[in-house]
């Protein structure tokens, strides 16, 4: 079953990016206030949000500043079936995996872009900042070289990500369908049992 493949292949969240959650707000703030980029990455990964105790739904939050993906806090029902547990764990794992990929992608992109701009400006003999202290930017055509090279160098990574994403997406949706059907079945049988016991 594809779930087995997924667990085998599952990416353990990179330690850098996945601190145990929840962590305290002050720790978050402390890390945020340091200027180290990696620490900021760590802090920005997980929010400390916890839904109200009586909530029976999942909660979805604002987009993460690094990966632009929205985190979800999954609700664990007391009578959660094995299927539902599997679904929840798969979704959580996929969310983490997605987050790692996109965080890395965005960070790499921005870093390489800046490096490109700086090297380009140096090659032209210009300073990084112009007379007013604002950063210089390159024209469209110059940047286009960078965009193209970024795509080309990351092509295999992207292709692999796509395949994995499609696989996970399908599996999650199929599991959701199974869970929905089994829920419906449970409701129907429960109704039948209650009506047969009452009669």
């Amino acid at each position: 079953m594809s779930a087995r493949c997924l667990t085998r292949r599952s990416l353990r969240p990179v330690a850098l990016l996945a601190p145990p959650r929840p962590h305290t707000a002050s720790a978050v703030i402390g890390r945020f206030c340091s200027s180290a980029q990696t620490q900021r990455v760590k802090a920005a990964k997980r929010s400390t949000f916890r839904p109200a105790a009586g909530s029976t739904h999942d909660w979805i939050g604002p987009p993460n500043p690094l990966s632009n993906l929205r985190p979800i806090v999954y609700h664990v029902a007391e009578d959660e079936s094995e299927l539902e547990g599997r679904l929840r764990r798969l979704r959580q794992e996929t969310e983490d995996w997605n987050h790692n990929f996109w965080t890395q992608q965005n960070i790499t992109f921005t870093k390489e872009k800046d490096a490109f701009i700086i090297s380009h400006l140096k090659a032209e003999g210009l300073t990084v900042r112009d007379e007013q202290g604002r950063r210089r930017s390159l024209g469209c055509e110059d940047m286009a070289t960078f965009y193209k090279s970024f795509l080309d160098t990351n092509r295999t990574r992207h292709v692999n990500y796509n395949k994995e994403w499609y696989r996970r997406n399908f599996t999650i949706t199929l599991l959701m369908a199974r869970v929905a059907l089994s829920d419906m079945w449970r409701t129907v049988t429960r109704k039948k049992n209650s009506s047969s016991t009452s009669s």
Binding site: L69, N106, R135, E141, L151, N154, H158, N169, I172, A180
Partner: protein
Amino acid sequence: MYKTPCSRLSGLVGASVKQKLVQNVLRCNQTARGLIQLHRRDPSDRPTYQHLSFLKRQYVAKNNSELLQRAVPKHVPVLTIVDERDDSVEMRVERIPTIDPVVTGPAPQSEAVARTTQPEVGPAAAAQKDVASRSTAAISHETPHIQVESDEAREARLDRQWKQLKVNVADLPDIYARLAKIKLTALVVTTAAAGYAMAPVPFDPLIFFVATLGTGLASCCANSINQYFEVPFDSNMNRTKNRPLVRGQISPLHAVSFALACGVPGVALLTLAVNPLTGFLGALNIVLYTCCYTPLKRLSITNTWVGAVVGAIPPIMGWTAAAGCLEPGALLLGGFLYSWQFPHFNALSWNLREDYSRGGYRMMSVTHPGMCRRVALRHSLALGGLAALAPALGVTTWTFPVVSLPINLYISLLAFRFYRQGDRGSARKLFFCSLWHLPMLLLLALTCKKPRADQAADAAPPPAAASPLALQS
């Protein structure tokens, strides 16, 4: 033209001063200033539809803002906030709209937005350490802004933005409309209707209605599946990050069920009520769009050509719904749509190159920019050629190439300018021209439709009016 100054202004005015949080920002030894962050969006940004709709909502502002009020010994020009570290980490993500949400607070804002500049590099380096305490900064490459917000306030604000993953039934129509990309669907239905109207057969309102309904449903299905596949990519692009699945308004299963609920009846309707050929074309189009175009977007630039075929099929479907078979006229109409796609899409994607590159999309505009412009020009010229072909195939009278010459010349001119200049302005102009060019072309074709002279009994009056009902036998 995508700016909405009024809503931003209200955001500005709403920021509040929090004096008690001064301690938290003691690290900033800059002279204090309260700055409201105004993210000036590059005017050449993408279509505003999504932007405008989420401006209404309190969207997360990457830039935390807080007005800082401190005693200022003297007025010092504020430093550039451009913090390389902030930029390098979060610049890209900050571009995703950063409309400052209205921070609820009793104190009125005291200062307006100010741009900060710092001539020397030295103090700027010192500033960076302080700026680092501000967690994010929106950067467009020429307008640095500072925003300071206490971390508690920021946490509270972010916490408020958590929503239950529960379907709000009242929102469902809106959600479905956005899931199905209702505007695009409407355009597709219009082209199918035009295909139907151009076919040289008596107009049958029932078949017309059924055919357009079926095409619309098939288009909804294809669009929903497309969004279902592309959730993480859509999250990372400015243009698409307000889609329902990205925002979690419905679950993926729900989206797929909706797609099936649209697609299956749609194709069945076309197959059974219209004719099997049209049903087949509808199903083919869904498959082409979801299983070929969508994955290809990330694999190869050929996705644009596949997408052009996807766009060309609806008018062919309209024609086959009317006439029952594939005729050269149908292919001509398809050819119009096919050629039109290139100036339309290439111009659109020209200004989205950064987003496409970061998102991993392989588009001509990114990987083969020269080809992108050449192809757009080539196909703009082809539109004029196809218009000249129309009378030869008996689809329209000879007046059609004549009356459509001005608009065809105009779009060719813009495409030529785009080819030569290759800048954002010319791309934008070409894109917007393509938006009105297509409906205009179809309308002109309709008015120049060749009257059916073979049946004297129902000799249609010269189709002066565009209304197809005038041709009803």
